[in-house]
Symmetry: C2
Subunit: 404 residues, 2 copies
């Protein structure tokens, strides 16, 4: 069961299966490759309900966007006490953890309460959704219509095919991504690339989005450091918007919008935070969020899979640098830093369209507009999508350079 | 200064000017038209800073969306104690209120911390933004480019022209919209229509959006019952998306998308909450929010201005009915109702485009997915715009019918 197709040789990849048939994959980056070696000794024997199959998604006729109606998620695990953390290693004991191991480095498993899932009830942990209709790309971008059968075409639905995965960055419950070692962060980069490659190969999947929600202000229900990966059966609305603009720019200029924008930011200088050999971090000119940073490769790259080894090495370092600056961004009343809540998400090229015009970038954003003050997405943002940002992007960049 | 051009005859409309030149308009709906009569007696003599002129908005090259960079708003009034409420009548005394009157019914005034404002420094309270370049409609819809001058076209900006107004629904600090009398709610309908008509006449304005943020969970900083009206110098992203779909539907079928969707919902029945002579309220088929209701006129109407007197009468009643159901939607631990936080926004036809295909509707939505549990717009929603709704729309409609 050991197969290292995408991970670098130093990472040992071991796939196994949870009690309800969900797939779990260990990525061990340190001797003695502990969790991988354990898989024959520790077995998940929890009496779990049968794994859920795909729910339903519905198309909003007013915008064309697909909305996953995941009412089975309403009762998902909510802030359990630390001694019942489902992301800590269970060690094969009686603790109801998701991870049947005494220890692990990085681990990925299928979400127990997925918004998108396989259409089959197979317990094989297969990464291929079986023979179901795929919803075509978001109509926001393409104007195409729905795949769902319905009495009325304005009330279209389709199975919410795809896959949702959880990525645990470390077995240390009290860590943050920013406290990981460079080696561990490098492993996570490999894991993101591995999962992007595998999830992109699932029939129904049109887009793969690795992201991390960090902080109670973002609504995080589990404190154990982890991210998620959503593999959608459509091109989501904002991704479609990015793709549309990139396509128009390419048609007009023959160049990549992302590359021209990077050049413009490097030229302007005032919003650049980190300037590396392979990566650049800058606060975007028209930032929507009170704190927002884009981390982009200096080379034209469509997705995480296409990053070479040197780029992955530097990404681990630069991303840790960036997150540690965010940790220092605000000072609390006593002068001590306030760990910034954030959302970090990888915008990759969609799986089957626009791969020649899309350019990989990481978007990191925070709703904290001052210590103790949140930005709310109220009437203007939530109603009509018009964003108001109370903070000048240049001031954000200045602060992020200061704390470097 | 008294002019009742839009309001019904029973409403007395009196325009005056605050100390810094901002316009304030009283809409008195009850004898003896108290606040209107007072305007010569009570003068706003606060030593206010000069009113702010238009700030800047920047275009996000990745999506085409305009973002208002309103860094002067960062220090706006934040949860003042009740005795310093800026929306209570000041009575001409020493209390630092925005409203120089002993009493009022409904009052509208220009926001002291506007995201969009006039380009001139005129203190006349003029509703016409003077001779500035207007940014063309959102490029999400039209593919047009920016109007802002910039060294690099990917870093475009423009003055954030337009106007932001505050609408106080009542002088009663402890009221909610849902506790207004039908007469008062009817006055607010007239006020929304009056303001839509006047704001639409401002040169730079492309879209008028009346909305109410209600509840601390939405980030409301002032508890006094009030709404806002934003007059944007562009067609915002979500409005552009609505317009694009409506245009495509009209081209394909010759019919209005909003009308066909209403017919589909009436036919399906399962999500209809209130069925009136002139109005229908339903939970949308692909609701994004844990609680979301659309209130739509039964007749094809582009905006609030076009509503006739009977439609306005029924709107006041139906909207109060809907809000009172929302007040009863959740029960707290002791069985007592939890006042639902909500955002309510009027989607109207843009001022200069798509008026023949757009159809007025009110969207009311709440982030409360269970008592004490918020829906957060985290990675999937904020990153790529893919919404996950944990609650079945039919269950929401059932509950809203139950509490009617």
């Amino acid at each position: 069961m050991t197969e290292p197709p995408e991970a670098s040789p130093r990472v040992r990849r071991t796939s196994t299966t949870l009690a309800d048939g969900r797939e779990l994959i260990y990525f061990d980056d340190s001797e003695p490759y502990l969790s991988g070696a354990q898989t024959r000794e520790v077995v998940d024997e929890r009496p779990l309900d049968e794994r859920p199959t795909a729910g339903t998604m519905r198309q909003d006729a007013l915008t064309g966007d697909w909305v996953s109606i995941a009412d089975h998620r309403q009762n998902r695990t909510f802030m359990p006490p630390t001694d019942a953390c489902p992301l800590c290693p269970s060690g094969g004991g009686t603790m109801p953890s998701e991870i049947p191991a005494h220890e692990y480095d990085v681990v990925v498993f299928e979400n127990r309460f997925p918004s998108f899932a396989s259409g089959s009830t197979s317990a094989s942990g297969s990464t291929s959704a079986s023979g179901s209709t795929s919803a075509s790309g978001s109509t926001s971008a393409s104007g195409s219509t729905s795949a769902g059968a319905s009495a009325n075409p304005l009330l279209a639905h389709a199975p919410a095919l795809g896959r949702c995965e959880v990525v645990c960055f470390t077995s240390d419950h009290d860590a943050r991504f920013s406290s990981l070692s460079p080696t561990r962060a490098r492993t996570v980069v490999d894991v993101w690339a591995d999962r992007t490659r595998e999830l992109s190969a699932i029939d129904a999947v049109e887009h793969v989005f690795p992201f991390e929600n960090c902080g109670e202000e973002i609504g995080v229900t589990l404190h154990h450091p982890h991210g998620q990966i959503y593999a959608y059966p459509f091109v989501p609305a904002r991704t479609a918007s990015l793709l549309q603009r990139a396509t128009e720019h390419h048609q007009r200029t023959g160049r990549l919008l992302g590359a021209d924008l990077l050049a413009a930011e490097l030229d302007a200088e005032s919003r650049v935070v980190i300037r590396g050999t392979a990566w650049t971090a800058y606060v975007p000119y028209a930032a929507r969020w009170p704190v927002e940073v884009h981390l982009v490769p200096n080379r034209d790259v469509p997705d995480l899979v296409a990053l070479d080894s040197d780029e992955r090495d530097e990404l681990a370092e630069v991303y840790l640098d960036l997150l540690r600056r965010l940790d220092l961004y605000y000072e609390g009343p006593g002068g001590s830093p306030i760990a910034l809540p954030y959302i970090a998400g990888w915008h990759q090229a969609p799986v089957h369209q626009g791969r020649d015009v899309s350019r990989l970038h990481l978007q990191v954003m925070s709703v904290l507009r001052a210590p103790g003050r949140l930005k709310y997405l109220a009437g203007s943002e939530s109603g009509v999508g018009a964003w108001i940002n109370d903070v000048a992007p240049e001031a954000v960049a200045t602060r992020l350079r200061e704390v470097g």
